[in-house]
Symmetry: D3
Subunit: 317 residues, 6 copies
C-alpha cells in the first residue's frame, strides 16, 4: 500500500518563472529516461523478485518509491516554473491586451508568450502545469521500461537506466542559472548515481550472474569478432587478446564474407568444440535445476496470498 506526505523529499524552490526550462524539465517528468520511467521499471520488476528474492524486492520497492517521490519533485518544479500562466489563462475574457503584448517588444517578458513558445500545450491543454510527456510533447509510454523477470537482466537494465538519467540531468543543469533549481537538479542527478551503486552491489550478490539468464553461451559462436566494416579497422581489447573474464581469446574474422562461405554459414566448424558443447549442456542442466527450484520452492502451494499483515502490526507497535 502506498502512502504520501505532502512535504517533498527535497525542498524544491524556484526563484522566478521560466517556461522554457519548464519544458526542458518535462524530459524527467514524462520522458524516456525520466522519473516515472524509473519508478515504473523498478515497481514492475519488484513483482517477479518478491518470491525468490525478498531482499531484492525490498530494495526495488525502496528505490521505486524514491523515484515516485522524485517524480513529484520534478512536477512541483515545473509547476513553479510556470507560475502566472494559469492565472493569465483564467482571465479568459481579456484577450486583446495579450495579443498586443505578444507581438510587441514586451513579448519576451510576457509569461504567456514564453509558455506558448516553449510548449503550446502549456497554454492549450495543461493550463500551466506539467504534462506526462517529454519536451517535444510525446506522451509517456510504457515501452520506455524494461522489466523481464530475471534479476541478472533487470539489474543490468537498471544500471543503464540510471546512467542515462544521470546524463540527462547533467545536460539540463547547463540550461538554468537559478541556484535553487540547480540545487534540486544536483540532488536528483546524484541520487541516480547512488541508485547505480545500489544496483551494482545487488547484482554482485547473485553468483554466477553471467551470462545473464540461465543458459551458457554456445562455445561454437562465442569468440568470433566479425570485421563487418573492414575499412579503417581498429584492433583493441574488444577484438584482440583475451576476452574479459572468460579465459579465452578473441577470434578475429578479418573477412566475414569469405569465412561464412568457407564454413557454409558457420555450420562447418572446428571439431574441437564438441567437448565444450557437452560441458555446456551439463552446466545448462545444472543451472536450470538450481534456478527453477529456487523459484518453485519459494512459491506457496495452494491458495496464494500476497500479504500476511503481520509485519505491519509489528511496525506499528
Amino acid at each position: 500500500m502506498f502512502y504520501h506526505v505532502k512535504d517533498l523529499q527535497f525542498n524544491a524552490r524556484v526563484s522566478r518563472p521560466d517556461p522554457r526550462f519548464a519544458n526542458l524539465l518535462l524530459e524527467q517528468f514524462g520522458g524516456e529516461n525520466g522519473e516515472l520511467a524509473a519508478a515504473m521499471q523498478y515497481f514492475t520488476q519488484a513483482y517477479g523478485a518478491k518470491m525468490p528474492h525478498p531482499d531484492k524486492y525490498d530494495m526495488l520497492m525502496d528505490i521505486a518509491v524514491e523515484e515516485f517521490s522524485h517524480l513529484e519533485i520534478v512536477g512541483a518544479t515545473i509547476q513553479m516554473l510556470l507560475k502566472g500562466v494559469n492565472g493569465e489563462l483564467k482571465n479568459a475574457a481579456d484577450e486583446s491586451e495579450i495579443m498586443q503584448v505578444m507581438d510587441g517588444a514586451e513579448a519576451r517578458e510576457n509569461i504567456i508568450h514564453q509558455a506558448l513558445t516553449a510548449n503550446p500545450h502549456f497554454v492549450t491543454l495543461s493550463s500551466g502545469g506539467p504534462r506526462l510527456t517529454n519536451s517535444q510533447g510525446i506522451p509517456w509510454c510504457a515501452s520506455y521500461i524494461h522489466s523481464n523477470g530475471d534479476l541478472t537482466v533487470d539489474l543490468r537494465s537498471n544500471l543503464a537506466s540510471e546512467s542515462r538519467a544521470k546524463l540527462v540531468y547533467e545536460h539540463l543543469m547547463k540550461f538554468t542559472d537559478d541556484p535553487y533549481v540547480k540545487e534540486t537538479l544536483s540532488f536528483l542527478m546524484t541520487r541516480e548515481v547512488a541508485h547505480y551503486k545500489m544496483f551494482e552491489a545487488a547484482l554482485e550478490t547473485i553468483q554466477p550472474n553471467f551470462p545473464p539468464g540461465v543458459l551458457q553461451a554456445d562455445p561454437r559462436f562465442t569468440r568470433q569478432y566479425f570485421n563487418m566494416s573492414p575499412q579503417a579497422s581498429v584492433r583493441g581489447p574488444w577484438n584482440k587478446g583475451e576476452m574479459p573474464d572468460l579465459g579465452k581469446d578473441w577470434d578475429y574474422v578479418q573477412d566475414p564474407i569469405a569465412y561464412v562461405q568457407a564454413t557454409e554459414g558457420l555450420t562447418v566448424l572446428d571439431d574441437a568444440k564438441e567437448a565444450e558443447l557437452e560441458e555446456v549442456a551439463e552446466l545448462d542442466a545444472k543451472m536450470s535445476e538450481i534456478k527453477s527450484q529456487e523459484v518453485i520452492a519459494a512459491e506457496p502451494k495452494g491458495t496464494a496470498q500476497w500479504s500476511t499483515y503481520q509485519d505491519s502490526k509489528q511496525l506499528n507497535k
Copy 2:
C-alpha cells in the same frame, strides 16, 4: 513524498493459476481505464489544484495514492495468477518435454501453454509477471489521462473515468469463478463508485461550475439542435422542450442544409440576441476577474517554495 508499506490495501488472494484471466486483468494494470491511468490522472491534476484549492489538492492526492495502491493489488493478483510460469522458464535447458506436453492432450493443463496462449509476452518478455500493457499488449500511454488545469473540467473527466473503470471491473467479474479473485474485484469496482461520489461532491462545492471553464456560451449558438441525420428522427428532452437548468427551449433545426443556407452559415441571425450577447460579455469579464484573481492571489510573490516542512513536524509529534 511517497511512502510504502508492503501489505496490500486489500488482502488479495488467488485459489489457482489462471493465465487467461491474468491477461484480461492487464486491462486494469496497463489499460486505458486502469489503475495507473486513474492514479496518474489525479496525481497530475493535483499540481494545478494546489494553489487556489488546497482542499481539492488534498482530495486528489488521497485518491491518487489509493489508486496507486490499487495498481499494486492488480499487479499482485496477476503475478499470483501466473504462479508456475517463472519457474518453468528458469528450467531453460529442459525444452523437449514441454513441447511434447504443449502439443498433446495435456496442453490445456500446462501452465506454460496457458500462458503462451493467453499472452506471448508472459513467456518471452515478462517471465510470468505483469506488464504495463493492456490485454492486447498495447503499452500504457499517457494519452489515456486527462488533466487540464481547471477543476470544473478535471472533476468531470474524473466522473467519466470512474464510470468506465467501474464498467470494466463489472465485465471482468464475469470471467473468473475464483471466489478470492471475485472478492478483490468487487472491492476494486466498488471503490470506483466511491471515488465517483467524492468527485461529484467536490464539483458541487465549486459554484458556478457550468459552463466548465470561465467563459459563457455564445447565446447565438446555444440552443439549436441540428437534425443532421434526418431519417427516423426522434424527439426527446435532448432536442425538445426546455434545456436542462438553462430556462431556455431547444431550437430544433429540422433541415440544417436549408437553415445554413438561409442564414449564410449562421451569420445572419435573429437580432434579439444582441442584448444577450452584451450580458454574456459582462458576465465573462466578471468571471475572468474572479477566477484569475483566485489563482493569482494564491501564488506567492518572489521565490516559490512547494513545502514548508511545518505540518509534517506536527504530524510526527
Copy 3:
C-alpha cells in the same frame, strides 16, 4: 450513408494568414480533445446504442455528424490561416531569396518563415495544409476516444469530452485577435456547451443510471474515505457528512495503515453489512435480467439486416 454539401455549417473567414495560430488550432483538428475525437467517439458509440435505444442512436448520429462538420470548419480555417505557403513552396527553384529573407529582419513578415517556425511539417509534409496531428505533431490516435457499449457510461464520457473541448476553445480564443476567427471559435466553443446539455438530458431519461453499468456497489467498501496523504488534510462534503444521493454517511479512515492492518486487508469487517450484501445481490440479479432482456429483445432473430430502406423512401417523398 454520409452525404456532403460544400458549404460549411458556419461561415468561416480569416482576415490574414497566421501560421502560429494555425498550428495552435491543430489541437482541435487532430488533437486529443478535438473535433475528430468527438465525431469518432459518438459515431462508434452509436453502433451499440442502435438496437435497444434507437432514440439515442439518432441523437448520437446527429451530433457525430455535426462534429464532422466542425472538423471541416477547423480544417478550412487552418488552410486559410496558411494562405501563401503552398504557393511559395511550389516556387521550388527559387530558394536563395527565401533564405536571405528568413535570416534577415523581414523574417517575421515572411509567411514561409512563420510557417517553418510554427510547425516544420507545414513546409515539409503538408505544404501548407492541416495535418491530422495536435499542435506538437503527434498523430491523432484512436486511444483518444471512449466508446464502451453502455449508455450510462458513454454519456458520462461525453459530458467530460465536451467539457474539455470547451476549455480548449476558451484557451485558443486568447491567442487570436482576428475577429472572424474569434467568431468561428465562439461558435465552435458554444456548440460544445449545447452538446453537453443534450447528453445531460439524454442521461437523465435513463433510470436508474447510477452506478453506471448494471451492478450495484459492494456495501462493504462503498463508504470509506482513505486519508492516504494525511498531512494538511481537509474535511469537506467529499469525505464528511452524507454521501450525495445515497442516504449514507462517509466513513473517514484517519489512519489507513492501521485500519488495513486491523482489518487484515479489509477482510475482517463489521457484520452489519451482511444484510446489505444480500439486498445488493438481489438488486444485481434483477437489474441484470432487465438490462440484458432489453438488449436481447431488441435483436432480431436469424439474419441480421442493418437498414430497411423504408424510411428513406418516405423521407424522399
Copy 4:
C-alpha cells in the same frame, strides 16, 4: 457540411454471429488500410486541392464521403457479427454459468467465449461493438494517412492505398462463408478498384505529372543502377536497356564500392552532364513559375472565405 441518412449505401446483412470474423474485419474499420484511413486521406488532401483544382476537390470529397459511408458499413457488419455479446454482458450478475460453459465442451458454441477468444476488448471494452483498432488491437493512428499538398504525389499515394485496401478485402473473403457477408465484401473490394480508376484518370489530366512535385531530377544521378547485393544478380528492364519514358539508358554500376571510390563519392563525374544540368535549371525555373502562379492566382486577396452559400441555394431550388 456533412449530412447522414440512416440507410447504408450497401444493404449489409449477416446470417449468424461470428466474432472471429468480426475481429478480422476490424482491419478495414480501424486498420492501416481500412476505410477510415481512406476517408481521412482524401478528406485532408481535399483542403489543399480546393484552391487551384476545384475539380479535384469535388472528386476527393465525393470519394472521401463514400469511404465514410463504407466505414459505416464495415462497422455495422462487425456489430451484427457480434450479436448476443452485449446482451450476455449486461446479464452481469450471472457469471457462474458462463464460466462452466466456457471451460466445457460447449465453449465453441458460446458467443461470449468466441468473442473473448477473438478479441478480449470485445468483452472488456467495447461490449460487443466495433473498436477503432486493427485486428490486433492497435488503435487507429493518423500516421496511416498520406496527404502532402501536391496532387501529383497525393494521387499516387491514393493508387497505392486503393491497391492495398483491395488486397486486404481479397484476403478477408477467404475467411467467411456467410453469403451475405461475402456480398458486402465483394461490393467494398470492388469500390476500391473503381476508386483506383478514378484517381488514375485524374492524375492523367495533370500534365506533366512526372517527376512528382515541381523539380526535375538531377541528370548526374538519374540513370545509375547500383548493384548493392551483387550475388545472383538479375538484369531486367529495371536496370538494363532504356528507362521507361525517359529516352535514356540505365547505367548499371556492377561494383558500387569501386565506383564510389573512383568517383570520390560521385563527385567526379562525366563532364557531359553539365549541359543537361543547365537545361534542368531552366526547366525548374519555368515549372516553379507556372506551378506557384497557379496556386497564388487562385487565392483571394484580403479576407479569405471558404464558402459562398450561393451554390447550395441553387441546389435547393
Copy 5:
C-alpha cells in the same frame, strides 16, 4: 549478410553548422517518408518476393541497401550540421557563461542556443547527433512501411513512397543555402526518381497486374461514380466517358440517396450483369490457380534452407 564500407555513397559535406536545418533533415532520417522507411519497406518486401520472383528479390535488395546507404548519408549530414554541440555539452561544469550568452544578443550565434531552439532533444538526449525521429520528435514507427506480400501491390506502394520522398527533398532544398548540402540533397532527391523508374519497369513485367492481387472486380459495382458531395460538382475523365483501359463507361450516380433507396442498398440491380459475374468467376478461378501454383511450385519440399553458399563461392573466385 550485410557488409559496410566506411566511405559514404555520396561525398556529403557541410560548410557550417546549422541546427535548424539539422532538425528539418530529421524528416528523412526518422520521418514517415524518410530513408529508413524506404529501406525497411523494400527489405521486408524482399522476403515474400524471393521464392517466386528471384529477379524482383534482387532488385528489392539492391534498392533497400542503397536506401540504408542514404540513411547513413542523411545521418552524417545531420551530425556535421550539429558540429560543436557535443563539445559544448561535455563542458558540463561551465554553465553560467552559456546562460548569459543564451539570453543576450549573441544567442543567435551560439550553437547551443540554436540547437536548443531547433530541437530540445539535441541538447538533452542525443548530445548533438541524429535521433531516429521526425522533425517534431516523433519516434520512427514501423506503421510507416507497407509490405503486403504481393508484388502488384507492393510495387505500387513503392511508386507512392518514392513520390512522397522526392517531394520532401524538394521542400527541404528551399531551406538551406549551403552549396554542399544542396548537392547532397539533389543527389538524394534524384535517386528517388531513379528508384521510381525501376519500380515502374518492374511492375510492367508482371502481366496482368490489374486489378492488384488476384481477384477481378465485381462487375455489379465497378462503374458507378457516386456524387456524394453534389454541390458545385464537376465532370471529368474520372466520372465521365470511358474508364481508363477497361472499355466501359462510367456510370454517374447523380443522386446517391435516391439511387440507394431505389436499389434497396444496391441489391436490386440490372440483370444484364449476371453473365459478366460468371465470366469473372471463371477468371478468378483461373488466376487463383496460376498465381497460387506459381508460389507453391517455387517452394522447396521438406526442409527449407535460405542460402546455398554456392553463388558466393563463385563471387569470390
Copy 6:
C-alpha cells in the same frame, strides 16, 4: 555505404512450417529487444563516436552491421516457418473449402488456420511474411533504442540491451523442437553474449568511466539509502557497509519522513561536506575541460567532410 551478399551469415534452415513459432519469433524481428533495435541503437551511437573515438566507431559499426545480418536471419526463418501461407492466399477464389477445413477436425493441421490463429496479420496484411512488429502486433518503434552521445552511457545501455536480447532467445528456445531452428537460435543467443563482452572490454578502455557522463556526484546526497518501504526491510551490501569502489559507507535512513522533516527537505545537512563539495567542483571543471577538448580537438575547422575515400582505395588494392 552498406553492401549485401545474399548468403545469410548463419545457415538458417527450418524442418517444417510452424506459424505459432513464427509469431513468437517476431519478438526478435520487430520487438523491443530484437535485432532491428540492436542494429539501430549501435548504428545511431556510431555517429557521435566517430569524431573523438574512431576505434569505438569501428566497433559499433561492425556490431551494428552484424545485427542487421541477424535481422535478416530472423526474417528468413519466419518466412520459412510460414511456408504455404502465401500460396494458399493466392488461391483467392477457392474460399469455401478452406472454411470447411478450418472449422473441422483438420483445423490444427491446416497452415492457414494455424497462421490465422497465431497472428491475424499473417493472413490479412503480410501474406505469410514477417512484419516489423512484435508478437502482439505492436509496430517497431524507435523509442526502443538508446543513443545518447556519450560512450560511458551508451556502452552501458548496450550491456543491458544485450542482456535482454539474450534472455528472450533463451525463452524462445523452449518453444520449438525443430533442431535446425534451435541451432539458429543458439547462434543468435550466443552472439548477444559475445557482443556483451565486446562492449564490456570497450567500456573498460575509457577511464574514468564512472559516474557516467562528466560531472561528479554531489557529496551531500551520494550515500543515503532511504528506507521508503519500511516493513520487512532487509540490509545487504546495497545499503550497509561500504559502497562499491567509492571508499565510503552507506548512510541508511531508517525513517525517511522524519529525516526529511528534520533536514527541511535535505537542505540542512552536515557541514563536513563543504570541503567535499569544493573538491567536486574542481574535479568537475577539470573533467569538463578534458572531455570537451577531446571532442572539439577532433572536429575539423571549416567545411566538414565525412569520408576521405582514401582508405577504401587501399582496401581495394
